[in-house]
């Protein structure tokens, strides 16, 4: 079994492998150690409940994970769905808004490009909210360094954790199924690893099936999540009201 096979496949399906550890370079050594290390919080009794009680602990060994999902959480789902729709179906994009940053539009068919850049500076100077941007990203160019991603990670044991970044991560627009090592010393809080560039060794890799039509799937995922949250909110409000009546 080679190191390539760890990187190129679903690690939950890698079983019973032994490595010939002679003659490995430092990086290879690192990968194998991380792979072989005991899975994170593996021996907690009643895992799901206990994991969220683990407050502010430091990871004591290198851990290998695969990336299941990367979600931008600095931008509303609505705005992200809008952006996907523009890419996936430019003819039907909503045209009722000036886009202050050209980043929202990235299609090659110039015919369907809606307004490139507008000198909004002036309008902004004088406007009292004439352009209501409540829904747009707070992720303008100079703000990009503050973008936060919520990354869903899976260990070979199948256990799933979240991770967030405190500073920009160069690899964050990676393929789903990419492998990475979270290094010892990284902070962990209630199921969430807190990452920065130096706490991660990114290994790359891809799971083809997960990445097929990725944008369409991500868009559908966001829509479903938005709907779900909406319904939950309505129910919540309903129950609150009932309580008030009682």
């Amino acid at each position: 079994m080679s190191i390539a096979s760890i990187i190129s496949q679903d690690i939950t399906k890698v079983t019973n492998i032994t490595f010939n550890k002679t003659g490995l370079n430092a990086r290879e050594q690192l990968i194998i150690n991380a792979f072989e290390n005991e899975a994170w919080l593996n021996n907690l009794p009643d895992k799901t409940n206990k994991v969220v009680e683990q407050k502010c602990i430091k990871v004591d060994r290198d851990l290998l994970f695969q990336v299941l999902m990367v979600e931008q959480i600095s931008i509303s789902k609505t705005a992200q769905i809008d952006d996907y729709n523009i890419k996936l179906d430019p003819k039907n994009q909503k045209v009722d808004r000036l886009r202050a940053n050209g980043t929202a539009i990235s299609n090659d068919v110039s015919k369907y490009k809606v307004i490139t850049q507008l000198d909004m500076e002036d309008s902004d100077n004088f406007s009292n909210g004439a352009n209501n941007n409540t829904n747009l990203s707070n992720n303008s160019l100079n703000n990009r360094k503050n973008t936060v991603y919520k990354i869903t990670l899976q260990a070979k044991s199948g256990d799933i954790f979240f991770a967030i970044n405190t500073s920009p991560l160069a690899w964050v627009s990676c393929m789903l199924g990419s492998k990475l090592i979270i290094k010892a010393g990284t902070l962990f809080n209630r199921g969430v690893f807190v990452l920065q560039e130096s706490s991660v060794v990114f290994l790359g890799g891809i799971n083809r099936q997960w990445n097929d039509n990725k944008e369409t799937k991500l868009c559908a995922y966001l829509k479903a999540k938005l709907d779900q949250e909406h319904k939950a909110n309505i129910n919540l409000k309903g129950s609150r009201k009932r309580k008030a009546v009682q």
Binding site: C56, T78, N92, D96, E229
Partner: protein
């Protein structure tokens, strides 16, 4: 030598003849009530070697001719609609246009030269060509060598004299571009209007019988226009965005910092650099980690004070004028443009249709400011409220520098007209309407603001580090208001003082809170926003944007809705149904979205630049419309289905 001059409107003819004739022009009737012929002598034309010429100055009243299908053969119900895509076009003249045309023919009869004084834009160029055709009918000796074009953009005396002394030629490319636009608009407009009306009218107002028949309702027309539909599309898209809006919860962290000065008890909020995050667990993670690792102390890691400015506005374009009149003065786009037009005709303002936001270097702006200072008015009650500001602008400041500033330069230049600016001061007894007075005041204040210094102030930014997370507060102290004194619509105020902290100091956090909020839907479309969208997407020209908005209101596709002080535009059932109907037929990008129209606009520009020919562009676009027509005609029941659906779901 006899010269015939023709302007686009009587008011321009009158003003120009006053200037060229040195105040001694004589008015004659033209045979049409609103047009006069002005006779005078002028000796500045270079084509007459500056010898004395007998000049007659007359005008048209907008377009001199129309384009239409011959009614007997192609009238409503007299032909199959699809024939309209190939039907021959003919020039039409209504009763008044005939009178005006006859006058031009008559006056041209003895002329040795013709000089066109229509407005200097694409449309004006075309009207010039219409005049030329009529003039030639009256006088066969008029030809390319003795037909001239005056280039001018306002009615100030020296400018008009310069235009008369430096004639150019008509730009035939622009004429062809307008011809193309008119042909396409006519063929697409008439064919789809007939199709839509015949399809949907019985649905919208079923034929009534008996004494309660409403004649007005029976005359309903469901029109199509290549600009009307995309304009409607913007409003419907916004409506749907609001209707389908789902609020989303977000979370953020906010710190309240105490002022070390014990005399100041209020705290200052510091905002998290990461802003709002749409995931509770993630924000909780940041929050807990910060509290665990740094407790209630945050360190000052950046403290910067720097000069800052509030920029004065850019020179005024038509679209900005309409937008700002709607926003600041609550005057709608059509009213404000009409008022500006009147003010131009009366000589108070420069030509109000311009895309240019940069003043030509050669323009003497100080002189214009001087006019606004009204130095000749000794009685202060006769002076405008901004006269003292203008006067002050011409003087030096304490350091001995002139307070007058060259305006900021924008990036748009239509090469025809300078930005909108006042020409002369408005006397107290000037005969203008209240709306015109307000629009005039806006233009003057905007102009004076352009010629002023930016607002000056100091901005201080304090950045705190709380366990690696950064929190910022900014304070502004306004030092010199400058242009803000004459431009009350821009707001810039001194903010609350920041706590006195020093670099590397540990600040006490009074409260650190994890807060939540939720996104709110956008506001319905306002007219000023719609103007900006149309402009940015190339729907209509600065001159026609207002008409398109009026039109879709008149057609009952949208209606204004007043909420408090703000007036919003909401689509009607019919409007929504039309947009979705075309979407369902798969024609969204050609009808309710701006794409098709913008493509055409780009083609028209190419005709102006001589890159494409009229024929090329017309045949290409008309073929497209013929195909859209075929598709719409075969699936027109969709339109009715969608109408029913919209009616049942929305109301």
């Amino acid at each position: 030598m006899r010269v015939l001059c023709v302007a686009e409107k009587n008011s321009i003819a009158k003003a120009v003849s006053q200037i060229l004739g040195g105040g001694s022009s004589i008015a004659r009737d033209s045979g049409y009530m609103y047009v006069k012929n002005y006779d005078f002598n002028f000796s500045g034309f270079p084509f007459a070697d500056s010898r004395d010429c007998q000049v007659t100055m007359t005008s048209v009243a907008g377009h001199l001719t129309g384009v239409d299908f011959a009614n007997e053969r192609y009238g409503w119900g007299k032909c199959a609609i699809h024939e309209l895509f190939d039907a021959p076009l003919s020039q039409t003249l209504d009763k008044n246009q005939k009178k005006i045309a006859d006058n031009i023919k008559r006056e041209a009869r003895n002329a040795d030269a013709l000089m066109i004084w229509t407005d200097c834009d694409r449309e004006g160029e075309y009207i010039g060509w219409e005049i030329l055709i009529e003039a030639k009918k009256g006088n066969g000796s008029l030809n390319e060598s003795n037909i001239y074009r005056a280039v001018f953009s306002h009615l100030e005396r020296s400018h008009i004299l310069h235009a008369a002394r430096n004639p150019k030629r008509l730009d035939m490319n622009s004429v062809h571009a307008v011809g193309t636009r008119m042909e396409i608009d006519l063929r697409a407009g008439v064919s789809f209007t007939r199709l839509l009306t015949e399809t949907m009218k019985p649905k919208i107002c079923p034929p009534a019988v008996g004494p309660n028949r409403n004649k007005k309702k029976e005359n309903i027309v469901i029109s199509y226009g290549t600009c009307q539909f995309p304009t409607l599309g913007f409003v419907v898209d916004r409506f749907e965005r609001i209707r389908n809006f789902i609020p989303e919860e977000f979370w953020y962290i906010q710190l309240q910092i105490a002022n070390p000065d014990p005399n100041i008890t209020t705290t200052t909020p510091f905002q998290w650099e990461k802003g709002h995050l749409f995931d509770r667990l993630s924000v909780l993670t940041f929050y807990e980690l910060c509290i665990e690792t740094a407790g209630n102390k945050a360190k000052v890691i950046d403290l910067k004070s720097k000069p800052t400015s509030k920029y004065r506005p850019l020179p005024l374009t038509t679209v900005e004028l309409q937008k700002n009149c709607a926003r600041f003065l609550k005057i709608n786009a059509k009213q404000s443009l009409d008022a500006a037009e009147k003010l131009y005709q009366k000589g108070f303002l420069s030509y109000p249709r311009t895309e240019t936001d940069i003043f030509p270097k050669t323009m003497d702006l100080k002189k214009l400011v001087e006019k606004q200072a009204q130095l000749d008015q000794t009685n202060s009650s006769n002076r405008s409220p901004w006269a003292d500001y203008a006067k002050n602008l011409l003087s030096d400041n304490i350091e001995g520098h002139s307070q007058f500033q060259t305006p900021r330069a924008g990036t748009h230049d239509d090469k025809a007209h300078p930005p909108i600016h006042p020409i002369i001061a408005l006397g107290e007894h000037a005969t203008i309407t209240p709306v015109e007075r307000r629009v005039y005041e806006y233009v003057v204040r905007h102009f004076l603001a352009c010629c002023s210094e930016d607002g000056k102030g100091t901005s201080t930014t304090l950045i705190l580090d709380w366990a690696g997370e950064k929190f910022t507060a900014t304070g502004i102290v306004v030092l010199q208001r400058n242009f803000l004194d004459v431009y009350p619509w821009a707001k810039w105020e001194t903010t609350k003082q920041l706590p006195r902290l020093e670099m590397n100091q540990l600040a006490d956090i009074v409260t650190a809170e994890m807060r939540s909020g939720s996104t709110s839907p956008p506001k319905p479309m306002t007219e000023s926003e719609l103007i900006m969208l149309m402009d940015a997407n190339g729907i209509g020209t600065d001159a026609t944007i207002a008409e398109h908005i009026e039109k879709i209101q008149a057609r009952n596709y949208i209606r204004p809705e007043k909420v408090g002080k703000e007036s919003y535009l909401q689509p009607t059932t019919l409007g929504i149904a039309l947009v979705h109907g075309f979407e369902e037929m798969g024609l969204e990008d050609s009808f309710a979205k701006p794409f098709q129209r913008r493509e055409m606009e780009e083609d028209l520009k190419k005709i102006c630049d001589g890159i494409k020919t009229r024929q090329e562009v017309t045949s290409n676009i008309v073929t497209k419309y013929r195909n859209y027509y075929r598709r719409t005609n075969t699936s027109k029941n969709k339109l009715l289905e969608v109408y029913d659906r919209v009616k049942n779901t929305i109301i």
